[in-house]
Assembly symmetry: C2
Homo-oligomer: 167 residues x 2
Amino acid sequence: MDTGARDSGNALLFLTDEQLRKGIEAMFFAYRGFTADPDRILADMAYGRAHHRAIHFINRSPGTTVNNLLAILGVTKQSLNRVLRALVEDGLVRSEVGQRDKRERHLFLTDAGEALERTLSDAQRDRMRAAYRAAGPDAVAGFRQVLEAMMDEESAARYAALKDLKG
Amino acid sequence: MDTGARDSGNALLFLTDEQLRKGIEAMFFAYRGFTADPDRILADMAYGRAHHRAIHFINRSPGTTVNNLLAILGVTKQSLNRVLRALVEDGLVRSEVGQRDKRERHLFLTDAGEALERTLSDAQRDRMRAAYRAAGPDAVAGFRQVLEAMMDEESAARYAALKDLKG
DNA sequence: CATAATACGTCAGCTTTGTTGACATTCCAA
DNA sequence: TTGGAATGTCAACAAAGCTGACGTATTATG
């Protein structure tokens, strides 16, 4: 590992149990804020966070297959299927039989699906943007660094797989 | 608000939707990592994340009342009660009738409770410490800044209330 | 061509963790 | 002494995860 931190003097005070506990608690409460706005919107419909996640990643990678989505989300197909079925029935997601491989179903958002996606994303992005703006670019860089270092192996792999697609 | 970021040139590139989306996805996957280790430990027992949270905050503020815990966790008393009952029955939490106000129950971890708390905290702290060490103190400062700016009002109030107790 | 593997869907049942609503008990305080 | 606050309990329910089993196309492989 490329250690940027030199162990000079009390430079390691940020690694005390006290500081770590604060970080843990901040992470807990921040995640609440992170999901609060979409949660509020979804509560009015018959949807939850699972639907939001599905919609987010279908929007991010239109035409993705069920198996792809399964791998990214890390849930069982039964769990995802329940969510997808509702979204398809409600006309938010379109499921297309694959051309090369007819076993596969490619998933797309319908116009209504895209509209909901935008509503949810806007709410979540607005909070994120406000936090970013308040903290400044250097803080944001650190934020991202720590987050990426905090992922477990599986999550990191999923996050990395996303990068190949777009960003 | 004290804005550290100057709007000079392309200094706002960190506020693009693209960057925000990356932050959102990083937050999602990082939270998985954040809970992965305790989750693994708890899965072997009949416990879940809710038990972990209760144990964490009882450990942090020994003698706290049920109502206090309710306010911090932001769940219903019925939901918390189920969790607390299990922990008390299993001898991990001790519930003491208040002296000044006998309606209140003050919560403490037993030795067994403290042992489990240490096991869970160690797992979570280890990952956090590794992430902190890899990212360095400046990144950690930014991480904390963004997290605190991301909390919704309620979560921020709960987080702030904790500070009054210890740190 | 026969068989195995893959992708997907579905049924049934279980768990955790949250929710409401109703109601009893205890006890402080006006 | 009576009203209200704090606590606890019962019942019923929902969201979203899980396992296991099974069915059905479709593709890949021996």
